[in-house]
């Protein structure tokens, strides 16, 4: 009846005589309320303890890279929105950054500020939604997410006025942004930034001392720093373990070297630290936003010489990377001088951060797997592309 060999393999099997005959194999996903999309894990359990865990990818493989190789550079911009669909604007920026590096395009001052503002707002969206989904994974489905999405909608209203779409912004261009800020947008943005701190205080008040949260997240999913670094883990997951690595600081792009902000670091690198690091990062994002809104100059929103049509970068290759909300988001492009990229490769943070999932989960209970997966903060559009 079941024809998929993977399914056959993952259904509960008891093989007599083998060492594994006491193990229970469970297929978690692809339709599962806590896999954040269509991710699947084949878990082998000894009682409730995880012995082995094999992720199965590809349920959302949409051949983004292949499609991009057959079309012009600009045509891929709307596709980058759909990579990490919670934070499209940072994806836009990473791609624009890579192409600008490839073609050597300068970005005007005002556009840089606009990029910083939209990217930090996106970081707020991502980390807020993360808190909601993470609490949902722990069983508090709904209430935490309601608060998170209430704030998300306020930012999305701003994005809609600026880019015309709630989620799929398609906003950045090579050499700037697509359009200027609408009238009164900065004032509304300032009001939102000022009102965000009370929300964070409220959320932290609910969470910080919550006994259930502490019991379920502290000392869960720790890994040594060396393993994390060797695994290529980036973003809040790495910083939660105390490694000072933030591309905004170590390899500044755009105008991040002008802002005064700190890099919050965790101590233990367990799921609790990963949650708290995101709250601290949101406060730093608010600091950046306040400075950027104060300092944004008048001027061009796109470089006047930027070519929208007939764009042909010179022969060569470039790797542009930014600090996305989930980690290092990079685009690697190879140009052969034609309007289409010869090779187009995405370095997605969620996918690379997932690679150590088994190491984190083995030896813990099956209920912890869900929390650990939640703490990695994956988006399947980016994992499978």
């Amino acid at each position: 009846m079941i024809s998929d060999p993977l399914l056959q393999q993952s259904s509960p099997v008891l093989e007599e005589g083998s060492d594994d005959d006491q193990l229970l194999r469970v297929s978690l996903g692809p339709q599962h309320p806590s896999t954040h999309g269509v991710f699947r894990m084949n878990v082998e359990l000894d009682g409730e303890t995880v012995v082995r865990l094999k992720p199965v990818f590809g349920y959302l493989h949409r051949n983004h890279e292949k499609i991009a190789e057959g079309q012009t550079y600009l045509s891929s911009m709307p596709f980058t929105d759909r990579l990490d669909y919670i934070c499209p604007l940072t994806n836009n920026w990473a791609y624009a950054h890579a192409v600008e590096k490839l073609a050597g395009i300068e970005v005007p001052e005002r556009a840089e500020y606009m990029r910083v503002i939209t990217a930090e707002l996106t970081r707020l969206i991502n980390h807020t939604a993360f808190a909601g989904f993470f609490l949902g994974d722990m069983g508090a489905w709904g209430s935490a997410l309601m608060y998170a999405f209430r704030e998300r909608e306020k930012i999305l209203d701003l994005f809609e006025d600026l880019t015309g779409a709630r989620m799929m912004s398609n906003f950045m261009r090579f050499g700037g942004c697509r359009n200027d800020l609408p009238d009164g947008w900065l004032e509304r943005c300032r009001a939102l930034v000022d009102n965000y701190e009370p929300f964070l205080d409220e959320m932290e008040m609910f969470l910080l001392g919550n006994e259930i949260l502490i019991a379920r997240t502290q000392d869960v999913g720790q890994l040594p720093k060396e393993t994390l670094i060797n695994g290529g883990i980036t973003g809040p997951m790495l910083r939660a373990a105390g490694v000072a690595y933030d591309i905004r600081k170590v390899d500044p792009y755009g105008i991040y070297d002008r802002f005064d902000f700190k890099m919050p670091l965790g101590e233990k690198g367990d799921c609790y630290d990963r949650l708290m690091i995101r709250f601290l990062e949101m406060r730093e994002s608010l600091k950046i936003l306040k400075q950027a809104i104060k300092d944004i100059p008048e001027g061009d929103f796109i470089a006047p010489k930027a070519k929208i049509r007939g764009f042909k970068p010179p022969v060569g290759e470039a790797y542009g990377r930014i600090e996305g909300p989930k980690g290092e988001l990079g685009f690697y492009l190879v140009s052969d001088g034609t309007p289409q990229p010869y090779r187009y490769r995405v370095r997605p943070p969620s996918f690379v951060n997932l690679t150590l999932l088994e190491e984190m989960c083995v030896g813990l209970d099956i209920a912890d797997v869900v929390i650990i997966l939640g703490s990695v903060d994956i988006v399947l559009g980016e994992v499978d592309r």
Partner: protein, 209 residues
Amino acid sequence: MAIDQKLADDLKSQGVHVTSFEQLINWGRSSSLWPLQFGLACCAIEMIAATMAKYDMARFGAEVFRPSPRQADLMIVAGTVTKKMAPQVVRLYNQMAEPKYVLAMGACAISGGPFKEGYNVLKGVDRYIPVDIVVPGCPPRPEALLDGLIALQKKVKGEKLIGKDRVRHADPNGMAEMPVPEYGPHDLQPPMNPEVWKPKAKIRKEGEA
């Protein structure tokens, strides 16, 4: 309805509501559609947003998202259905109990959307399962999803439960299970279900322009 409308209105003013059994059942069904908690891609985020405070799908009786297909009435196909995922989607549909409805949300579920030219994306979920409502957009706004839900409620309210033109789930011979496609050497086998997928094709006769 067989009852005189004036008499029905008279009775209603005195607190007696006269209706047919069919309308009563359809009213109950349409007002408590339980969707399957099943997100595929970007549209799922907008689906979640539609259930949250600002849009509040609970106003229309459809906020009880069930993770198990056995308890769900409505499958919102929210996102890109890839060829690897299509067999699972059909299986989930088969596991749902009748009456069941399908709402294809977003361009990808309808036709493949922006990823249509790719090698791994199904060009519309209606090739394998019957779709009742389509909600266009990439992704559709939460308001559009609510509009689709209301359209589905209208459809459910108008269903015939007896007689010759009764709906599928009221027909003992109606098709409840769809054949699950398999992943063949090149593509899904079969590439579509001809009982479900009937695109309007114009067949030219000889001599016709």
